[in-house]
Symmetry: C2
Subunit: 258 residues, 2 copies
């Protein structure tokens, strides 16, 4: 699985403080820790409280590129922040995220094409998060159609079927699993899939258990990628084990140490 480390995010107080104080060392250490635990890419999010999100994002991009050439995932709800940050990215880049809303697709898909970026696309539209798998797939079709019109391949569009917290939206998680399976039938090549894993356990007591159980179920349904905390060893070990059981990694007795 393609693991996107979630920890460089201003939602975490220590990260928010490090951004404000331009504490480069703390951020770089957090990035290295995630990469050492198996992150294939780093999500970069200045957080909701940043007074100057573009400036903060550009700073994060610059200091992260000093220590890694892995893909950066530019994570912002603002089209302007994404647009102004993309010229700074020398590493492979993924935009996080568009939705199926017209104004988002119209602005972000051409940017993805221009900057040779991949893009994460949430199956959300003006009506919000769909209640079932079928409605999620309808929005996935809309997204892929628009992406192809903008010159992107479905391979460059990560469909995110929007995982909600199980404690308030329990009926959504089986629909997300179903959508993960069925999105692979929409076109050839099929788009890759991604989920924001930690969302599923927001507000719950057993966060790691819920996260690792869901990600393993999602892998059984064909999930390709997740934004998650690579510093949670139990989650990483569950993923390694699932990949072995799917015959995607070679079993050896000490596979957890590798």
């Amino acid at each position: 699985m393609f693991i996107i480390g979630e920890r460089i995010n201003g939602m975490f107080k220590n990260v928010a403080r490090a951004i404000v104080s331009r504490d480069k060392k703390s951020i770089q250490e957090l990035a290295v820790a995630q990469l050492n635990k198996g992150a294939d890419a780093l999500d970069v999010n200045v957080g909701p409280a940043s007074p100057n999100p573009t400036k903060d994002m550009v700073w994060l991009i610059q200091i992260l590129q000093e220590i890694t050439d892995k893909p950066l995932v530019i994570d912002s709800p603002s089209v302007a922040v994404i647009q102004e940050s993309l010229p700074e990215v020398k590493n492979p880049v993924i935009i996080n995220s568009t939705t199926a809303e017209d104004h988002k697709l119209q602005n972000l898909l051409p940017l993805a094409k221009q900057y040779n970026a991949k893009i994460i696309a949430l199956t959300i539209d003006e009506g919000g998060v769909p209640k079932d798998a079928e409605s999620r797939l309808e929005l996935a079709v809309k997204i892929i159609t628009h992406a192809q019109e903008a010159g992107l391949s479905p391979k460059d569009v990560y469909i995110d079927p929007v995982l909600l917290p199980v404690n308030v939206a329990q009926d959504h998680s089986p629909e997300v699993l179903k959508a993960l399976r069925e999105v692979k039938l929409l076109c050839d090549p099929a788009p890759p899939t991604v989920v924001g894993l930690s969302n599923v356990s927001q507000g719950a007591k057993q966060r790691s258990l819920i996260n690792r159980t869901f990600v393993v179920m999602a892998l059984a349904c064909g999930l390709d990628s997740a934004i998650l905390d690579p510093l949670d060893d139990d989650v990483i070990n569950a993923i390694k084990t699932a990949e072995i059981l799917l015959n995607e990694q070679i079993f050896c007795p000490d596979y957890l140490s590798i």
Copy 2:
């Protein structure tokens, strides 16, 4: 999920000793422990070294029926042992197991009908364990056809797609997952499915991790039942969490304590 406790099995040395010495208390305590941890039924197997398997099986059935009215799963490779034990069973009963071999089907399906038993059917025939999902499904079709001819409903036939140890047969586990999904498309009503969970981790170091990862993946593929160790809390907690994420159990913050 319908959990079948695996621990009353003469393969375990302490159980073998308890059977030989007719140590009723130890066996009954092991049964109660499994039922208290959530077992819905108890597998009963005298083990390969029993000098008198029918006599031992009948003794086990009698002492287990003193402490529970939950289903007993009469587990023996011998048609004769199953045939001679069935008249002793007053609890609901499941035969474990037939294969798709003609002589097994011819002998065991009529016994299931006669004793109003359900039956576990392994997708194995004279050629051994099939290498892929499709061949497993072919044998499932053969089993179900013969079962219907013998007067059983597909609902009474647990299809077991034969989980092999991942350390020696890694290419089988994804085929088992695929078979679990696709067997549900064979007929209506669909047969329930079952796996012998602990097989997957035979000979591996991380037995519990491999077991609980596989069972969660299998639940995402529609698994109905498993023969497993209910005394492994991590496995039971993973199953509870998966059932919540499938919206089959109601979430509450303390769901693990319930």
